[in-house]
Amino acid sequence: MNDVELVAVTKRYGGAVAVDAIDLAIPTASYTCLLGPSGCGKTSTLRMIAGHESVSDGDILLAGRNVTLLPPASRGTAMMFQSYALFPHLSARDNVAFGLRMRGTPKAERLAKADQFLDLVQLGALADRLPAQLSGGQQQRVALARALITGPRVLLLDEPLSALDPFLRAKMREELKRLQRELGISFIHVTHSQEEAMALADLAVVMDHGRIVQAAPPREVFERPTSAFVARFIGGHNVLPRGERAVAVRTDRCRLDAGTEGPRLEGRVRALEYLGSTVRVVVATPDGTEAEALLPDSAFASSTVTLGDAATLAWNAADEHALAA
């Protein structure tokens, strides 16, 4: 059975359609990322699943049960908010215990359980601190423990990593994935970072203008994007016109090579970026088409290309992937 199922779910704000009749099935105990540019409807979708936003049309099923009209707390979901939303007047322990307090769990029991969940996120030592006395990363762990304590079947995370610095973000990412695996529940994670989605998701759901444009495992999204939008948004692709349609070619499958047969693009080097193990070379044709190649640093070192040089970008025809119009 699926943990979450969306059936023609629609959200309208006045006349504007934010989410347009989307269908989605999220398998049991999976990590799903809702991915897309801002305003694509991903946050509205998450908030509708949480029950913090009413559904204009359609149904939301959790573990086979229609929860469309249920209040947030009786759905079996828990939400972790973007700004963490910790209660500033309560200690970390009391914050974590809040959900149990609302459910009427006796004090000793709920505080013991709160300590247990604080240990789970490695914050046991700071249980008595107020949120203002914790760092951003620590606050986030408290928020995570608070969301998990009521034993939700689905945890909803609204851009959980966007406020952290890059180093902490990578660490927290590992931890989210570890927790999801250990607890065996579903995580639905809203993000605008394709890197985050690729690293975490079992199912990446790419959204645009209130619709799902592709929902598939990240590898499939990366290797076979269904549209030019997905190919561009997920990154690492050149989208090139091919008659009526367009094709996508992965930038790491392109090379600077005038000698071999096959599809090619001739122009001048417009940008060069050294990225450590790889080098990004952007070639622009006289008619303004741009494409780039991501070269291994050794391949780049053996070439003599510099900025402004004439260059030919070549790839194998087999690496072209046809896109829907």
């Binding site: 707390a73 939303a85 500033p88 007047h89 809040f98 608070r146 009521t150």
Partner: protein, 282 residues
């Protein structure tokens, strides 16, 4: 070293103003409270008779009891009204424009003086006032209601009318600072309306409630005009008692009374500040 001098100089003007207009009058007040007096003059002296009279007289105790009663009832009513008005403005009204408009509407009564706002009640509440005539006309009553004007009811009504805004403003300010996601987080954890109120909104509004309470209590404890006017001289307050002593030229007695009142009010404020930390509001 130079920095210290500049700091002192920058703080000096306010210190000077406070010294001249607060400290000096208070010192004079305390000094005069130990003076002796007769019908015509003040006699510089150091006697405790004024204080002995204050504490020895059953009238003082009764008046204090009455003043506390006024302050307590007014506080309770303005707190209820103020809290819910602030709640409505902060959480129910949508849109900054409408919120500002409604907030300004609340302040309109403050464009006229206290005295006028009080007197405006007289033709409304009087024996032949609008309310009595309307009730008589509607057949709800057959005798004019006597308790409406020149009564404790009228005094409390006027206090509430005058001072509710002092409760609304600070509570509204604290409420506007509450992150809306906190309320969603509480709902997400299973809190209903009343538990969101009890566990999230009220704890976070405490500084505003404390500031509003200080305003209302200090204003009511020191009042004498409202009590005289609205009770028609049938009720007393400590302020009114002091005012009467001044009109009888019993300055040392009035001063002793004022010193005691000041101490009592300061103790009440201290108690509020001890219970609630308002520093994060300042």
């Amino acid at each position: 070293m130079r920095g210290t001098v500049v700091s002192w100089l920058l703080a000096a003007p306010l210190a000077l103003v406070l010294a001249v207009f607060l400290v000096v009058p208070l010192v004079v007040l305390v000094a005069v409270s130990f003076y002796d007096y007769d019908s015509f003059r003040l006699i510089p002296d150091f006697v405790f008779t004024n204080y002995i009279e204050v504490f020895g007289s059953p009238v003082t105790w009764r008046t204090y009891a009455k003043t506390f009663w006024f302050a307590g009832i007014t506080w309770a009513i303005t707190l209820m009204l103020g809290f819910w008005i602030a709640y409505y403005l902060a959480f129910v009204v949508e849109g900054t424009g409408r919120r500002t408009l409604l907030f300004l509407l609340c302040t309109i009564p403050f464009w006229t003086s206290n005295l006028i706002r009080m007197i405006a009640w007289v033709p409304f509440l009087g024996r032949n006032g609008l309310l009595n005539q309307a009730l008589l006309g509607a057949g709800v009553i057959d005798q004019p209601l006597e308790f409406l004007l020149f009564s404790d009811f009228a005094v409390v009504l006027a206090f509430v009318h005058l001072y509710t805004l002092f409760m609304v403003v600070p509570i509204f300010n604290t409420m506007m600072r509450i992150d809306r996601q906190l309320i969603e987080a509480a709902v997400d954890a299973g809190a209903d309306f009343w538990r969101v109120l009890r566990h999230v909104i009220i704890p976070l509004c405490k500084p505003g409630i404390a500031i509003g309470s200080i305003f209302v209590i200090v204003l009511v404890m020191g009042d004498f005009v409202t009590v005289r006017l609205m009770s028609g001289g049938q009720s007393a307050s400590v302020g009114l008692m002091i005012s009467n002593q001044i009109s009888l030229l019993q300055y040392p007695a009035a001063a002793a009374n004022a010193v005691v009142l000041l101490a009592v009010v300061l103790l009440m404020v201290a108690a509020i500040l001890r219970a609630i930390d308002i520093r994060k509001e300042l």
